[in-house]
């Protein structure tokens, strides 16, 4: 992300016309603390004409604007918590407003990579602390005392000696006349009250009463409805179409082509859907129509062929020549659709004077830029309003569905909401890439891992390895490379890109190596970390102590090493998106089948901002990880996915989840990400426990299809 320092001085300061304080902050560059009171604001908070960071009305209501897209990760609650903590605001009087895209005011308005909190942590704290300091100064001035004699609590400034109190609302107008301080003191972390507490989602009330919040809930007078028929197979393109029957099916139906797609426009969702079924379309082959069988063959070719070296330490060849024992295994995963519960959709209104976009996107700035490029207009002519997203899991990082809406609106010259059906969504591509990994490990006589190789073979996966991940640095001789097949089947980032499966493969393989070495799974990993610490090989890009701490915490919580009758334990640990998660899975045998009973998760994401949100992310990530490892499968026949809806694509349900116990490491480190890191280690802990319980090593996902017999009696 580029820093935009030229905008350092854009912020101004003033009072609300009705009194009160509106503070804008320099969002660009963590070091810049410039804050100013925003000028020229005529309206009360809630007016979308301003994007100031926070405002305090004379009635004491604190409004905090949350710039990042809310996708279920809880950012709309977490961001304001951080501001309110430093402001010492009474949470009960805090109002949170979703800010629209504004590249002049905010930076990194993105939901992705578990990066929002780490990026914004200091900025948000400074925002709150600056406002707090101004309120204190205003109170001190009024009382004729020194600011240092005052403290704050729950939206009040208190003169400690006399016990005098003034509410933030009463001080806001005076505070607005002060020059914002450039150097503010942040709280000592041990004094945090709101951060680290349990705070409910700020949208709960609206969500639970069915208020319009999501993209699909957006309706506007005169808006048209549209669906798009996309090629039925990856590798096909549009040849011709006949829309006569469709147009006759209801009044107002329009049918237009968008490059290789056909758009059907009408006055209601159902009329459009029915009309779409009546459009006769001829498609033609434009590229290879690949099937899953082709992919299996391609994987073998990639694994045996040439690859791009990603990391090379020591002399792998000699290590394997000298090995007392060699362990080899291959692991494979299928394509996966993201399947957010709210399918893709977007509203666009292309007018003469500009473009209005409204909908669910993880990357509003990309939506703006690419729409501007598509329509050949300046980016500032495109506005993007962010709705809540009914999930995304990476799918809404793409802008394809936004551009479709914009293009269609420009053709039909009308406001339009394009909606994807579930079938459109599941067969529309941008999948988690299918990958196969080949591992080899060389052990010496004492069971030390002296050599390690990993080759990733991916289909549109880019680099399917993460070459600097553990155990890199802990093995003297190591080679990691990758090879890729370019396919017409489109792929994209899927929650915890690459590591969502790589972690399973690595952590299962390490389990295989530990077993071959006759070592305990936890002990084996700790020995490797010790080696990385005392005799590192090459660069080490993970924090050894933090990884060790979560390993030990998970082991402690789960009673690792202590015999539990009839219970088999599986271990896994992973570092991704700057956070560390270790897991222990418990499997018991019931009627001859392995049943996942419990998962213990030990998490180091630094400071926990919101206990409720954080636990929800970890638990949800684990459920996601179990579900896709067990059941998720998207297969292809001649370029067409075999699974198009939830009748054929199995998502995990309530009766299939284990108990989950989450423990956080309290190390006081600035917070790191949490939307993704709990998912990657899940497949490994589960598979390793199933191996312990049954002797069956699961190497391919979904597990249920790798060994149907093993799970046959699973309900």
């Amino acid at each position: 992300m580029t820093k935009n320092n030229s905008r350092r001085d854009f912020l101004k300061s003033t009072a609300l016309s009705a009194g009160g304080l509106i503070l804008g902050f320099n969002w660009f560059g963590q070091e810049a603390s410039a804050a100013t009171v925003v000028e020229g604001i005529a309206n009360e908070a809630g007016n979308t004409a301003f994007n100031a960071f926070l405002s305090i009305q004379t009635d004491g209501i604190v409004t905090i604007f949350s710039p990042n897209p809310e996708i279920g990760q809880g950012i709309k609650t977490a961001f304001p918590i951080i501001v309110a903590e430093e402001l010492d605001a009474d949470w009960a009087n805090v109002k949170v407003v979703q800010a629209p895209l504004d590249t002049k005011k905010f930076e990194r308005q993105v939901a992705g990579g578990s990066g929002s909190i780490p990026h914004s942590w200091q900025r948000l704290r400074k925002a709150g602390a600056t406002a707090r300091q101004m309120l204190v100064e205003a109170a001190a001035k009024r009382w004729g005392v020194s600011a240092s004699e005052c403290s704050t609590e729950k939206s009040f400034v208190i003169h400690t000696a006399s016990g005098k109190k003034l509410g933030y609302g009463e001080l806001a107008t005076e505070a607005a006349k002060l020059t914002p301080p450039t150097d503010v003191k942040l709280k000592d972390k041990k004094d945090f009250k709101l951060i680290g507490s349990t705070v409910k989602g700020v949208d709960n009330q609206a969500l639970l009463t069915g208020k319009p919040l999501f993209g699909l809930d957006f309706y506007r007078e005169g808006m048209k409805f549209a669906m798009i028929q996309r090629p039925p197979a990856f590798g096909m393109k549009l040849k011709s179409f006949d829309a006569s029957a469709a147009k006759a099916s209801a009044s107002g139906i329009e049918v237009v082509s968008l490059k290789d797609k056909v758009a059907i426009v009408g006055k209601s969702t159902w009329e459009v859907k029915k009309a779409r079924d009546l459009v006769k379309i001829e498609w033609e082959k434009a590229a290879n129509l690949e099937s899953s069988d082709d992919h299996n063959r391609i994987f073998k070719e990639l694994l045996d062929g040439k690859a791009e070296v990603r990391r090379k330490d020591g002399d792998v060849e000699t290590a394997f020549k000298d090995a007392a024992k060699i362990v080899e295994a291959e692991y494979q995963c299928p394509f996966l659709p993201h399947n957010p519960m709210e399918p893709m959709n977007f509203f666009a209104h292309v007018r003469e004077d500009g473009v209005e976009l409204v909908g669910p996107t993880q990357t509003p700035q990309n939506a703006q830029n690419q729409t501007a490029k598509l329509l050949n207009i300046p980016a500032e002519k495109v506005t993007v309003e962010l709705t809540k997203m009914g999930g995304g899991f990476g799918r809404r990082l793409g802008t394809d569905y936004v551009l479709e809406a914009a293009e269609l609106s420009s053709i039909i010259k009308a406001p339009v909401k394009v909606m994807w059906t579930r079938e459109d969504d599941m067969s529309g591509g941008s999948y988690r890439p299918a990958v196969r990994y080949r591992f080899r490990a060389a052990l010496d006589k004492q069971g030390n891992m002296i050599g390690y190789t990993l080759r990733g073979a991916g289909i549109n996966a880019g680099n399917s390895t993460r070459q600097d991940n553990f155990p890199a640095g802990a093995v003297s001789n190591l080679l990691i490379d990758s090879a890729e097949h370019k396919s017409p089947i489109t792929t994209g980032p899927w929650r915890a890109p690459i590591t969502n499966f790589l972690a399973f493969a690595e952590q299962s393989f390490l389990d295989e190596v530990a077993t071959a070495a006759g070592k305990d799974a936890v002990q084996f990993r700790l020995e490797l970390l010790e080696k990385a610490k005392t005799a590192p090989t090459g660069e080490i890009k993970y924090n050894i102590d933090r990884m060790k701490a979560v390993i030990e915490l998970a082991a402690e919580k789960s009673g690792w090493g202590k015999k539990k009758k009839g219970v088999s334990l599986g271990f896994s640990v992973y570092f991704s998106h700057a956070s560390y998660v270790a897991q222990v899975a418990e499997v018991v045998m019931k009627k001859g089948k392995p049943v996942l009973q419990k998962i213990y998760a030990a998490v180091d994401c630094g400071i926990v901002v919101n206990q409720s949100g954080a636990r929800n992310q970890v638990t949800g990530g684990i459920v996601d990880g179990i579900g896709h490892a067990m059941y998720g499968n998207l297969t292809f026949k001649d370029g067409t996915p075999d699974q198009k809806n939830f009748n054929a694509f199995r998502l995990i349900k309530m009766n299939e989840i284990p108990a989950i116990e989450v423990s956080f490491v309290n190390n006081g480190i600035d917070p790191t990400g949490l939307g993704e890191p709990a998912l990657p280690p899940t497949g490994g802990s589960v598979a390793n426990a199933i191996f312990k319980a049954t002797g069956k090593r699961l190497r391919n996902q979904p597990f249920i299809e790798e060994d149907q017999k093993l799970f046959e009696s699973v309900s």
């Binding site: 279920g72 009330q205 069915g210 699909l216 009914g390 999930g391 579930r422 939830f646």
Partner: protein, 152 residues
């Protein structure tokens, strides 16, 4: 096209739709009741669950013509002030992540608890396992149903 006077949330709402239109789209496109969600269109996920004469029903495959005389309740009518025990429990437990499926989850839970005021954990799981939550909030849903059961 046909005219309907639908009994929804204690009111009679007039609308025009072709008889095969699923109730879901009449609610959303015609009547502005968008709390009922589209998820799959084939009664697989439960996001569109409403009450038809008190029974939890998938509205995405239910033609409006079939409910012309029925008593229909949507999330907007589950309670007047958003304070049905199920809604309160969902808030207290802080169930939602993205929240998209939760209205359907609550409609399923509310109809279930009306019939089974003291459900066992297994009964809750059986009743709720037709509703998909892609975010994986199942633990909290389970807890919230248990909590709501104590308040019904």
């Amino acid at each position: 096209m046909a005219n309907y006077n639908l009994k929804i949330n204690g009111q009679t709402l007039k609308t025009e739709a072709s008889p095969d239109t699923p109730l879901l789209w009449v609610l959303r496109d015609n009547l502005g009741l968008v709390g009922t969600k589209y998820g799959c269109g084939m009664a697989q996920c439960g996001a569109c669950t409403v009450h038809i004469n008190g029974e939890a029903t998938r509205s995405c495959v239910l033609p409006v013509s079939a409910v012309a005389d029925a008593t229909i309740t949507t999330i907007e009518g589950l309670s007047e002030k958003g304070d049905h025990p199920v809604q309160k429990a969902w808030d207290a437990i802080d169930v939602p992540q993205c929240g998209y499926c939760q209205t359907g989850q609550m409609m399923t839970a509310a109809a279930f608890l009306k019939k089974n005021a003291k459900p066992s954990l297994e009964e809750i799981e059986a009743a709720m396992s037709g509703n998909i939550c892609r975010c994986g909030t199942y633990h909290r849903i389970k807890e919230a149903v248990q909590l709501a059961a104590t308040k019904m």
